[in-house]
């Protein structure tokens, strides 16, 4: 694990307390109680099954909950000393300075009308106020940093002329080139195959650490968390049920986390006939009790 210098002493970069997100005027509770911190330069993974509220939590942090009738509440939601609750909630998502986002699908996150180069340069122009040759040089250097060869041609290509992996790299360049303090990556590797996703994660983590950006990764792949995150936040049914260092994942207190870890195939259980599975609904009734138990412990 890479060291994050003095990460534990410093003030949190992002602080989320008692986050609640409701949709359709309170009829749907997507996030019931989420709370965690991200320190400068730290890599935090949010894991959980589909519908556990992990993506919504990120959307709320990024100012991305824009559906009519939705409501974001929290007792604390601050980023870099700024209270995010004062952000105007509108139908149109706005930039939160210092926060950058990376989406699941790189195909639709790029506009097919414009070349990759012009889109990357537009972001550099918007965020770093670069112009002309300096901007172009910076764009090219970012494409090189994300591991793309033949930068000239990539700059002139349109998104549909690139492969999925290349587009994902371009998105990573776009996400990081504005020097964000926090990169929120919502399932950044779900469109890639297993070996590519490890490669992609490695690249993302490595580039983020060179720019000093903290990373908040949403994923349902607990194994990726173990290898790439400093801390893992486990969400279940809209609540954060566990928040612990990644290397202590195997000593998790909460039964859901333990179940998540156990159902990953590994060398230890390779001879098992059946992998353990999680019965989501049956477990739901036990959550409250186990939570109390975990707290006591």
């Amino acid at each position: 694990m890479l060291d994050v210098p003095s990460a534990t002493e410093s003030r949190p970069l992002l602080e989320v307390r008692d986050l609640r997100v409701t949709f359709e005027s309170g009829a749907v509770h997507a996030v019931r109680s989420a709370g965690f911190e991200v320190r400068p330069g730290e890599r935090v993974a949010i894991v959980g099954e589909s519908g556990s509220g992990k993506s919504t939590t990120c959307a709320a942090v990024g100012g991305f909950v824009t559906e009519p009738g939705s409501l974001v509440e929290a007792s604390a939601l601050q980023f870099d000393g700024r209270d995010l609750r004062t952000r105007k909630q509108s139908r149109i998502p706005r930039q939160t300075p210092g926060v950058s986002m990376m989406f699941q699908d790189a195909m639709t996150s790029l506009d097919a009308v414009w070349t990759v180069g012009s889109q990357l340069e537009a972001v550099l122009g918007n965020q770093l106020k670069l112009r002309g040759k300096a901007r172009r040089a910076e764009a090219e250097s970012w494409l090189r940093r994300v591991g793309l060869h033949d930068v000239d041609r990539v700059m002139r290509s349109r998104p549909y002329e690139l492969s999925g992996g290349m587009r994902q790299r371009v998105m990573l360049a776009i996400a990081l080139c504005g020097r964000p303090r926090l990169l929120i990556a919502d399932e950044p590797t779900s469109a890639l195959d297993a070996s590519r996703s490890v490669e992609m994660m490695q690249l993302m983590i490595e580039l983020a650490s060179t720019t000093g950006a903290a990373v908040l990764i949403v994923t349902h792949d607990i194994r990726l968390c173990q290898s790439f995150a400093d801390r893992v936040v486990v969400m279940y049914q809209g609540c954060v049920v566990e928040d612990l260092p990644a290397n202590r994942l195997t000593q998790a207190a909460h039964p859901y986390t333990r179940a998540l870890v156990e159902c990953v195939p590994s060398l230890d259980n390779h001879d098992a006939e059946l992998l353990p599975t999680i019965d989501g609904m049956a477990l739901a009734s036990n959550v409250a009790a186990s939570e109390a138990e975990a707290r006591v412990a």
């Binding site: 990024g62 506009d111 290509s157």
Partner: protein, 291 residues
């Protein structure tokens, strides 16, 4: 675990796509008819063997070596008039196509972007959409006839009228496309990247939403030529002796009945060929741009 460092060159570098091969020259032949039409429209009036607006010989002479397409019932040279008419018809259709497409794109984008808004803006946007639907229920040629009859037919008035009449098509295309584009993830990605809404509309919504309307331009051109000619045929278009295909066909019809086919058939053939030439070139251009 340890992190492998992907150096500046990158250990997982990915090659860029190969350049597309240049198409063979013969594939450009499909644009030849439209190019000829454009040339004819530009030089047509200068290369006529006779003055297209004067009586140059006897009435209703059959096509021969002197008068290639014969003369009409007034004694004007049909060949001179037919090629001179290309300018009038093509000019009007070009202006109308550009005007209607541009106007339609702007109106359609305004409607598409504003429809879900509250307040006055949303009200106007929704109203615009309904007016566009309503315009579809009225036959184009009737509206055009009424307005031209009121204001008189000159090249300018005809262009304005046809533009207004043809705007709903591209406008509705653009509106529908705008509604689709508004949901695209790259818009949110650009917003998160700090792009302002006005710039976003110009840079991302406009070019994406305008594509169907631009692809449809050759169709609008054909309709414009046809309506301009139809108004000429009905007698409310550009008045003779200014050469115009529609009015030439109209005046030639009475000759046609008595067997003097040339004064109606030649302009009719040019009219049809012009529409087909532009439609074919437009279709080819769209296919080329899509691949």
């Amino acid at each position: 675990m340890t992190l492998r460092l992907a150096g500046p060159a990158g250990d997982a570098a990915v090659a860029a796509p190969a350049a597309r091969p240049r198409p063979r020259w013969s594939t450009y032949l499909i644009f030849l008819p439209a190019a000829l039409l454009a040339v004819l429209a530009i030089v047509g009036p200068y290369i006529t063997p006779y003055d297209p607006t004067r009586v140059v010989g006897g009435a209703a002479i059959a096509p021969n070596a002197t008068y290639w397409f014969g003369t009409d019932s007034a004694g004007m040279d049909v060949f001179s008039r037919t090629i001179a008419a290309a300018r009038v018809d093509v000019l009007i259709a070009t202006v109308v196509t550009l005007g209607a497409t541009l106007g339609g794109i702007l109106i359609g984008m305004f409607a598409g972007m504003g429809e879900s808004h509250g307040g006055l803006r949303g009200l106007i946007a929704r109203g615009t959409s309904r007016v566009l639907d309503l315009a579809d229920a009225v036959p184009l040629i009737v509206i055009a006839m009424v307005i031209v009859a009121m204001f008189g037919a000159t090249e300018l008035s005809l262009s304005i009228v046809l533009t207004i009449v043809l705007i709903p098509g591209p406008a509705r295309l653009t509106r529908a496309e705008t509604l689709r584009v508004r949901g695209e993830a790259y818009l949110d990605a650009a917003r998160i990247g700090g792009m302002r809404e006005s710039k976003l509309s110009l840079r991302h919504v406009l070019p994406n939403a305008a594509i169907p309307a631009v692809e449809n331009m050759s169709v609008v051109f054909g309709i414009a030529v046809a309506i301009a000619a139809a108004l000429g045929f009905l007698g409310v278009g550009i008045a003779p002796p200014t050469p115009e295909w529609g009015s030439m066909v109209s005046r030639g019809t009475s000759d046609l009945i008595s067997g003097r086919w040339w004064s109606a058939v030649f302009p009719a053939v040019f009219l049809g060929a012009a529409i087909v030439a532009v439609a074919v070139a437009g279709g080819a251009a769209v296919r080329r741009l899509r691949n």
